[in-house]
């Protein structure tokens, strides 16, 4: 039960990222590394928005390198643009069930429940613009909940939120993924986040993605590249 | 950093400057100026204008200014709008469809002397306007393609159902109006019937002569309404002998193009001089191969080679300008009704 990046090479202009690693499912994995290091690029590739130059992506042994984004076992929450501003909150969530929004009574109830689950009871009729930034991302989480994919990926959707709110959101996400026995992949450049929520950390720096290792072990004994990023003098 | 938008902006400023200069250039000559209003195709490089200007200026010690003031009715409208303030001394390019209305404006002076010795197939007795060229309307066809050439309106009506003609709208075109009058002149009491019978032969009606002639040359129609002199262009300029005009038994309607002197001119003598020059060899010899019409007074050297191959209608049809004025509205209504069914 693994996700495999098999000799993957991704290029974007001058920048190249290589990844040759395996991810065990069921973990909560932080993607840690400097800005512009390729964290989002890796997630985009897994989600199907970026075509690798060479290499393959395998899901439980099956090649999904060329699969359409919607057919992949992942949900990706972006930094922003997770919602359609011209649709209501409930409609935005409903899209996770049926993209044509022809929802049955039961499905409407499911949407309501998902809203409640993220603490937005009775807000379904509002437009995203009427919600706060944090509430907007809750809507996106509610939708991810309904999509029920084995892998949830967070591309810093909470970056614009305050520390307390961010923590709250991360905990909500952790709770949801645990309940669904899903795998969580989250981009962060804050080691505290990684320590707080993840059990494994995948280091991405200087154009290379390193295989995930146990977060506590990593932080206790950071390799040189991590030390440079963290700004700590080598001990 | 090159930016096309910026470059365009600079271009814009430059051209505004240029246009200001253009407007500012006054005609700083001491010579008297004779202003002649005429139509566009007369003044172009392919029309008689440039040669006429050169020839007249060689004799008059003046500056002849040929101004494009619109064709046909537009020319007259322009004069009416300008009234007595007009710069025009002479107007060249009206035809007999318009002269009655032109005279009614009271803007024109009588000719002195009236033109004489003209080579027109009809009597000319107008004391306000002098003709400078004329022609016959006719249907032009490709003699390599059309074998059973209709020799009359009757034969045209009875021709093969695939034979199609293209004509011009009398509301917007001189030949179009000419055809309207032609049918009136040939069949004074049966014109409505003729138009109804002709309708199936008419492929389409165009705004102007160019559209119709272009469609004919494309092979879209078998015949096009034009002039008996049209083949002369193809013969002389292109050495192409495939275009002919069909000779119609009923006779051919004429167009006579005329010029007149404005009553409010500040150059009355010069205007007379120009109108007299108009019927001299120097002017008349320019006409056939630039305006592709018959000169009003044949040059001493005769018509250019090629003109002898043209058809010469036996009957020349033309209404007096007063008659045109009296019948044209009813004729148009009849035409509209017949072709709108």
């Amino acid at each position: 039960m693994t996700i495999t990046f098999d000799k993957l090479r991704l290029t974007q202009g001058e920048f190249t990222l290589s990844a040759d690693l395996e991810i065990e499912e069921g973990h909560k994995i932080a993607l840690l590394g400097p800005s512009g290091g390729g964290k989002s690029t890796l997630l985009s590739a897994l989600a199907g928005f970026k075509t690798p130059e060479t290499g393959r992506i395998l899901w439980r042994g099956e090649d999904i390198t060329g699969t359409h984004p919607a057919q992949r076992p992942v949900t990706l929450l972006f930094q922003d643009h997770n919602l359609f501003p011209h649709l209501s909150v409930a409609q935005n969530i409903g899209l996770g069930l049926r993209p044509d929004l022809r929802l049955s009574e039961a499905e409407h109830t499911t949407v309501e429940r998902a809203l409640a689950r993220v603490g937005l009871e009775a807000q379904g009729a509002k437009r995203p613009a009427e919600l706060s930034g944090g509430q907007q991302q809750r809507v996106a989480i509610a939708r991810a909940l309904l999509r029920d994919k084995p892998v949830l990926m967070l591309d810093e959707p909470f970056a614009a939120l305050g520390p307390a709110l961010k923590l709250e959101m991360l905990e909500l996400v952790a709770e949801i993924t645990e309940a669904a026995r899903a795998t969580l992949l989250m981009v962060t450049h804050q080691p505290e986040d990684a320590i707080h929520i993840s059990d494994q950390t995948l280091l991405i720096a200087e154009g290379e993605a390193h295989p995930p290792v146990d977060t506590k072990t990593l932080m206790a004994n950071p390799p040189e590249v991590l030390q440079r990023y963290l700004g700590r003098p080598p001990s | 950093m090159f930016s096309p938008l910026r470059a365009a902006f600079i271009g814009c400023i430059t051209s505004i400057g240029l246009s200001a200069t253009l407007a500012g250039i006054a005609h700083a000559q001491d010579k008297p100026v004779l202003t002649v209003y005429t139509y566009d195709s007369f003044v172009t490089d392919w029309g008689p204008g440039p040669q006429v200007e050169k020839a007249f200026e060689a004799t008059c010690d003046c500056d002849l200014q040929l101004i494009n003031a619109g064709d046909g009715a537009a020319l007259l409208s322009r004069l009416q709008l300008e009234g007595a303030r007009s710069d025009a001394d002479v107007v060249l390019g009206l035809d007999t469809n318009l002269t009655a209305r032109a005279k009614a404006t009271g803007l024109f002076a009588k000719l002195s002397p009236a033109p004489s010795g003209l080579d027109l197939p009809v009597e000319w007795s107008d004391d306000t306007f002098a003709p400078y060229d004329w022609g016959y309307f006719a249907f032009v066809y490709d003699n390599t393609k059309l074998k059973d050439v209709p020799g009359s309106f009757k034969e045209l009506i009875e021709a093969d159902e695939n034979l199609k003609i293209v004509i011009q709208d009398p509301r917007s075109s001189t030949p179009g109006l000419g055809l309207l009058m032609w049918v009136q002149a040939a069949y004074p009491n049966k014109s409505a019937h003729i138009w109804e019978s002709l309708a199936p032969r008419i492929l389409t009606v165009t705004k102007g002569w160019s559209e119709a002639y272009g469609m004919f040359l494309e092979g879209e129609a078998d015949m096009v309404l034009s002039y008996t002199t049209s083949p002369a262009y193809h013969i002389i300029a292109e050495e192409d002998h495939t275009k002919s005009a069909a000779s119609f038994e009923e006779g051919h309607y004429m167009q006579i193009e005329v010029a007149g002197k404005l009553a409010a001119t500040d150059q009355p003598e010069l205007a007379d001089q120009f109108l007299n020059f108009m019927t001299t060899d120097a002017f008349q010899s320019i006409i056939p191969t630039t305006n592709w019409m018959y000169p009003a007074k044949f040059p001493d050297a005769g018509l250019p080679e090629g003109f002898e191959q043209l058809i010469t209608p036996e009957d020349s049809l033309i209404f007096s300008d007063a008659e045109v004025e009296a019948i044209r509205e009813d004729a148009l209504a009849e035409w509209l009704t017949a072709l709108s069914q």
């Binding site: 199907g48 928005f49 359409h68 919607a70 057919q71 949900t75 990706l76 922003d80 643009h81 919602l83 359609f84 501003p85 011209h86 899209l95 929004l101 437009r127 613009a129 939708r143 999509r147 970056a159 614009a160 | 930016s3 938008l5 365009a8 902006f9 271009g11 814009c12 051209s15 505004i16 246009s19 253009l22 407007a23 566009d40 195709s41 172009t44 392919w46 101004i67 494009n68 009715a73 009416q80 709008l81 303030r85 710069d87 199609k164 709208d169 917007s172 008419i202 492929l203 389409t204 009606v205 165009t206 705004k207 160019s210 559209e211 272009g214 469609m215 494309e218 879209e220 049209s230 709108s340």
Partner: protein, 538 residues
């Protein structure tokens, strides 16, 4: 930084509480130019009128024919343009850029050239009839109502496609990404994203096409097969030229303006602005439309449209190519004159449109005043060139010889004639830019020109380039008032082309036509491209 969507709720006022003095002045000046050249010239013509005769039965028939053919032509053009634009928006194929660029071509063909091009394919002696007769079938006969509609679709389908394609570009790439993530089918993309966009873009496109067809004259008559195809414009021409009935010409003009205003009111009321957020200008990669059915549909559609549009163009090129190398020397000064008119006219049109758009943007959105200004922006399309020419003459002649002002007059008239297009393109772009970035800019302390230069202009540059390009192409091909006011020794390229035709030189004219089309396209391309240079905005 993250640029979060900040849509302003429609109905609220824009960024500033009221239009600034500068915007008010500039906008009013633009308004004045439009009103002067449209209503002003009609009033001038009417002022010269003696008692006229009022409308006849034939006039009513012309009015009915005009409206019916314009409605049908506009409906067909837009109905075909929607799937065509969709296919162009979601497909990437070799030659796509060229196809999009060439979409500008049919629209700028002078009427006479277009008629000959259409006839060479669809006419009695055209390509299709040739094939039919070879098979022993009867040749096509397009002359009549079908010919008029065919020609108008040929002219306007490409324009409508470009305008609607512009609408597709307003859907941010991020929305398509999210749609892909959520597994939207083409149908879902259509329902959730494209329909709201079309609701905003289609009414404007329909209106433009309708107005263009409303004022058609030479094309409608030539392919209409006879006086049944009399349009209001021809009736105006007849009133001015055949009847010399100025009061009727003025009446018909006013009727044309009324039709324009009514249609503008109806369509603009239908238009519903979208609430799409603004993306980060990623190239709009697309993951939808992968179903085999839609692939086949798009391919067949694009091929058909390409054939329909480019076959007549091909014949224009084929006919014009041989004489291109032996063009008469008069062509070159004419070309230069045309450029001297076209480039300033295009810039003036863009500036006028911008001034008007800025004023409209600052007014309460969807207020009556804003709608009225927008409708006035369209008036020029309903203006008859003959009435403009006559009216200008009446207005100017007592003051100055209009011929001395031929160049500035032509520039001003051409700019005003292109204004409706430029405004249609610029207004939505400016409104989006103001909504999303005006506030950001203002919060950074930018005001006035700085705000415009830094926050607004980069966002509308692309639309401005498109607007200027279209205006340039339009005024390049327009015979317009220069035919009425051309001083001696002054000709533009279209005028020279018509003169060559009048002098029997049809071949040289075909060469001139090709040069005209080529130059128009080049200008269009240069301006359109100018809007994209130095910027990563796609």
């Amino acid at each position: 930084m993250a640029d979060r969507a900040q849509p302003v709720v429609p109905g609220r006022k824009g960024l500033l509480s009221r239009p600034s003095l500068f915007k008010t002045l500039a906008g009013s000046a633009a308004l004045l130019v439009v009103l002067l050249l449209t209503i002003g010239t009609v009033v001038a013509v009417a002022s010269q009128a003696t008692a006229g005769r009022g409308f006849t039965l034939a006039d009513w028939a012309a009015i009915r024919f005009t409206v019916i053919q314009a409605l049908l032509s506009a409906t067909l053009s837009v109905a075909l343009a929607i799937p065509t634009a969709r296919a162009l928006a979601r497909r990437r194929f070799w030659g796509r850029q060229v196809m999009v660029a060439l979409l500008g071509a049919p629209f700028i063909l002078p009427a006479i050239v277009a008629v000959l091009g259409i006839v060479s394919i669809w006419g009695r002696s055209g390509l299709i009839s040739g094939g039919l007769t070879a098979l022993g079938l009867a040749p096509l006969n397009i002359y009549g109502f079908s010919g008029v509609v065919l020609a108008h679709v040929f002219f306007n389908l490409p324009l409508a496609t470009r305008l609607i394609l512009q609408g597709w570009m307003t859907i941010p790439a991020e929305h398509f990404r999210l749609a892909a993530e959520l597994g939207f089918t083409s149908r879902d993309v259509n329902r959730q994203l494209e329909r709201p966009m079309l609701r905003a873009a289609v009414p404007g496109a329909f209106l433009l096409v309708f107005l263009l067809c409303l004022t058609s004259f030479a094309v409608a008559l030539s392919l209409g097969g006879g006086p049944r195809a009399t349009t209001i414009e021809l009736a105006i021409y007849q009133a001015l030229r055949f009847d010399f009935d100025l009061s009727k010409a003025a009446l018909l003009s006013i009727l044309q303006f009324a039709l324009c205003t009514a249609t503008a009111g109806a369509t603009l009321a239908l238009a519903k602005p979208t609430a799409f957020s603004i993306g980060l200008d990623h190239p709009p990669a697309r993951w939808d439309g992968t179903e085999p059915g839609t692939r086949v549909f798009d391919t067949v559609l694009l091929l058909t449209v390409a054939l329909f549009l480019f076959a007549p163009l091909g014949s224009v090129v084929l006919r014009g190519l041989p004489p291109m190398f032996s063009l008469p020397p008069q062509i070159w000064p004419a070309l230069l004159n045309s450029l001297l008119i076209t480039i300033p006219a295009a810039l003036l049109a863009t500036v006028l449109a911008l001034a008007l758009a800025a004023l409209i943007t600052d007014m309460a959105r969807r207020s009556k005043a804003a709608a009225l200004l927008e409708a006035i922006g369209f008036l020029a399309l309903a203006a008859s060139p003959f009435v403009i020419g006559t009216g200008l003459f009446v207005l100017l002649n007592p003051v100055i010889d209009p011929f001395k002002l031929a160049l500035p007059i032509t520039i001003a008239v051409n700019a005003t004639m292109s204004l409706p297009f430029a405004l249609r393109i610029l207004l939505p772009a400016l409104q989006r830019a103001e909504d999303h970035y005006g506030r950001l800019g203002a919060s950074l302390g930018m005001t006035g020109l700085t705000l415009f230069r830094i926050a607004i202009w980069p966002r509308i540059k692309r639309a401005a380039g498109f607007a200027a390009g279209l205006s340039a192409a339009l005024s390049m091909g327009d015979l317009g008032v220069i035919a009425l006011f051309a001083p001696p020794d002054f000709a533009t390229l279209p005028l020279t082309m018509y003169r060559l035709m009048a002098a029997y030189q049809m071949e040289a004219a075909a060469g001139a036509a090709l040069l005209l089309v080529g130059t128009s396209l080049a200008l269009f391309w240069a301006f359109d491209r100018g809007g994209r240079l130095d910027h990563h905005i796609r």
